[in-house]
Symmetry: C2
Subunit: 143 residues, 2 copies
Amino acid sequence: MSDTAEQELRELVEERVAVVRAKDPAPLAARQAQDIVTFDVLPPLHSRGSEAVEEKTRNWFDSYAGDIGYEVHDLHVAAGEDVGFCSFLYHVSGTLVGGGEVDMWVRATLGCRRRDGRWIITHDHESVPFDPASGRALIDLAP
Amino acid sequence: MSDTAEQELRELVEERVAVVRAKDPAPLAARQAQDIVTFDVLPPLHSRGSEAVEEKTRNWFDSYAGDIGYEVHDLHVAAGEDVGFCSFLYHVSGTLVGGGEVDMWVRATLGCRRRDGRWIITHDHESVPFDPASGRALIDLAP
């Protein structure tokens, strides 16, 4: 365990919040490993590689008419010298281009490695649970 | 990065597969940190503590009339000396007590720490994606 490394991963999450609010895909992409393994809220089941992530990020930002609300809660971080992970809940909100309102809590886990002295995300898992009785995704759960 | 630690985490996943197939909750519980943070396929949004996990595991095992099929694919492991994480897909299958058939692919991420020389799971995130058009969880996606 390394307190310094844990602080660096907290800063990585803070950077993510700032960058989503600014709708700027470039710093997000710079934090992603080229061989990132992604399990996203939306399909596909899994994807590999940062190109897929960049395109999804751009589409995500473009789908909002204005600002994206993005608040992180319940952040837990574990980090050694070169490997670490973070888990948190985020509250995403805003108005879509099509007019719909988003107001949703999502669970997120980031797997990170330090490469060439810099922490990057090699794994990103984001999801909501589902109700087995109805088969519906539970997008209205709050912590 | 530590090759030995990575191998130990691969063995932790192998143990998990064996234990689920044997429907034995005790070794699973022994691998879980008391303060584990869980983001499960089913509600709630998140939970903390191994008691909640033990009860869920028992209920999960009891819900199957016979064996549980549990196959791990696309395992990726990153580990330093004391902190690591694994991501994989698992295919779960079997017949429920109520008669229904389960045949589903799930994404899983385990966050791990070595405590007192032994790797334990401090974070467990499992999910399926959902279709934003229908609002339905996508339990029939295959890799």
